[in-house]
Symmetry: C2
Subunit: 244 residues, 2 copies
């Protein structure tokens, strides 16, 4: 039996947002690997081994998947959202780079609905013009890089989607982010805080940059910052397709 | 009967990438509105009216959807990819803004797999770190805005995904884009040209910025430009999760 590794995106949480492609690959798997809450979304069945691990062990998890595949297993590494956006796909390729014996492994990536697209859809169309996606976690990059990117994105008048805006271990990063935005953007810039996107307890909160406070975000929040043209229309927030 | 408008993303082309949420809303529709090739993806059935229109009539199409819904129709406006990314969602909200009598219309946006996520997955994980999405069409914004955004994105060391890189009516825009990138980025920067993403005739071509030529892109191509850390590993292209 020839093993393979598929890195599949389960979408933001609503099972109706899981693509049939992903559902199909899960049905073929012998092994599921991933962070505990994502593995919990896969139904147990005979012949399927679930390997749920804690957060922050992405490289060990990736190596485990590659080793199982080398022994003939059909392994699905599950991510929430899209595996290529701040998720497990890059970690698997990092593991291949560190262990070149896996370079010939059959690896495929199956896209999913990433949180920013579900959050944007829930509130209207705030990413309807040019935009950036920025991971605000400084676990893997220095704060100076984040700050520089925020300034470049603001000066380019991009809308922005922020992943991982705030956690208990990084209580001040989002406060600093708001400070940078206040230096670069109009106080009337619209910011949407989308928490638990696509889950039954989803909440949406849109305020101006002047009104935004750090505690509006937590680790389950996706933040969307509008560009200079982003506006409200009724209960919706959208960015027009033209530049002004 | 209370009408509504749903703006739904059909994904990049592969039917296995259409979410069950979108399939479910199509089954409830009385009317489907959209650009000819996207409407052609919806199976005809009794009680369903298909309204296929040509490209570049987005606002008329949006207004038509709102008018039908006001008369009780259940209207699905179909987009390829994700409706909120350079697609129909913003056009519908623009139409609402121009016709405030529709402000109370029940409008929902259903996300889909946008082309850049499918293209990134097909080649590996080139968008695994901070990135920008830029529409290179200058139909709705001046070239100067595009050029400025390209420079800001490059100086922020963002990976970039380009939609609508080149068309017959805009033969020189992508050439100018490559010129700007050559001024701002290393000649070793990796560029992937993903054509007809997720279709059976999908092609992937990754070259360095030094090797890239304007004719590598056409209107069916999604272009991904790596950041300074994007690299090849075997047949894959990926961007590591750390900043360097």
């Amino acid at each position: 039996m020839t093993g393979w590794v598929a890195i599949a995106g389960l979408g933001p949480g609503n099972e109706a947002m899981v693509t049939p492609e992903v559902t199909g690959i899960l049905a073929q798997a012998t092994d599921i690997i991933g962070y505990i809450p994502y593995v919990a979304r896969v139904a147990p069945r005979e012949g399927l081994t679930l390997h749920a691990t804690d957060n922050r062990v992405e490289l060990e998890r990736a190596l485990h998947a590659l080793e199982l595949a080398a022994n003939g297993a059909r392994v699905v590494v599950v991510s929430s959202g899209d595996p290529g956006v701040f998720a497990m796909a890059s970690a698997v390729f990092e593991a291949v780079e560190a262990h070149p014996e896996f370079t010939k492994t059959d690896i495929r990536v199956l896209p999913g609905i990433t949180a920013m697209l579900a959050a944007a859809a829930a509130v209207g169309a705030p990413l309807g013009h040019d935009f950036c996606a920025i991971n605000l976690s400084d676990n893997l990059k220095p704060w100076e890089v984040i700050e520089h990117r925020l300034r470049m994105a603001a000066r380019g008048d991009f809308a922005m989607a922020f992943y991982n805006p705030r956690s208990k271990s990084r209580p001040h990063g989002f406060e600093k982010t708001l400070d940078v935005l206040r230096e670069e953007c109009s106080p009337q810039t619209l910011i949407t805080f989308a928490r638990n996107v696509s889950h039954p307890d989803q909440t949406l909160n849109t305020v101006t940059l002047a009104e935004a406070t750090p505690d509006m975000a937590d680790m389950r929040t996706l933040v969307i910052v509008g560009n200079s043209a982003t506006r409200r229309i009724g209960k919706y927030v959208y960015t027009p397709r033209s530049a002004t």
